[in-house]
Subunit: 141 residues, 2 copies
Amino acid sequence: MKKEILQSFIQKVWNEGDVNAIAGYIADTYTVMHDPGDPWDGMALDVAGFQHRVSSSRAPVPDQVFEIQELYENENSVCITWLWSGTHLGEIAGIPPSGKTLRMSGATVYYFQNDRITGHWQITDRLGVFQQLQRNRNPET
Amino acid sequence: MKKEILQSFIQKVWNEGDVNAIAGYIADTYTVMHDPGDPWDGMALDVAGFQHRVSSSRAPVPDQVFEIQELYENENSVCITWLWSGTHLGEIAGIPPSGKTLRMSGATVYYFQNDRITGHWQITDRLGVFQQLQRNRNPET
């Protein structure tokens, strides 16, 4: 059940950008427990805060897709490994859009209570993304 | 069973550096399926190759410890999330030792066949490590 909820959440909210669907998935408070490099690392978000996070994150790569590789389930959590890709159409970390495809991989543990997602613990290969951004900015290098 | 094998493997091989124990854990061929930034990414290793990988990786941080946060098990794999720390006592990526503690987090899927580990899929926060290395080299920044 938790796996199916999570797959639906990733698809609707993160892949399709449907911020109105968020209230149906997350608990009243969603905690970003561990997410090195993420602007929301350590924060506790309500639904409006989470909507802002999704909108802001998707803005520079509006066609982004998380492709789940594997799902693992424990009593109160689901862990997924994933590949991410999207077209760089807006400024990221001060770097202007290149129109190129960006790729990233990561792993995320999502915590649940009463079928609601209460937060996550995440690792992403953010160095790989910065290297792509630099390479696209300076194609001769 | 796989979880216990993996915990023992992490402790003996990666935390204690016992390269003679490796042959008791891994299959004849160990494949580094996905490990962005790792020098062995994409390689298929035999026992000697794996011993070299462990020795080389541990040399600059000989007291390194992987502290497992959570374990998840599927039919043929175990996924762990972990925190890593160690003292920077040897050159890393051309940066001389600082004597400072380095910290990193990551997530790894280990694949099994007949209770032997056949390979892994891994994400680490390598950007976080490079930022620490740079900060330790230029403490005024």
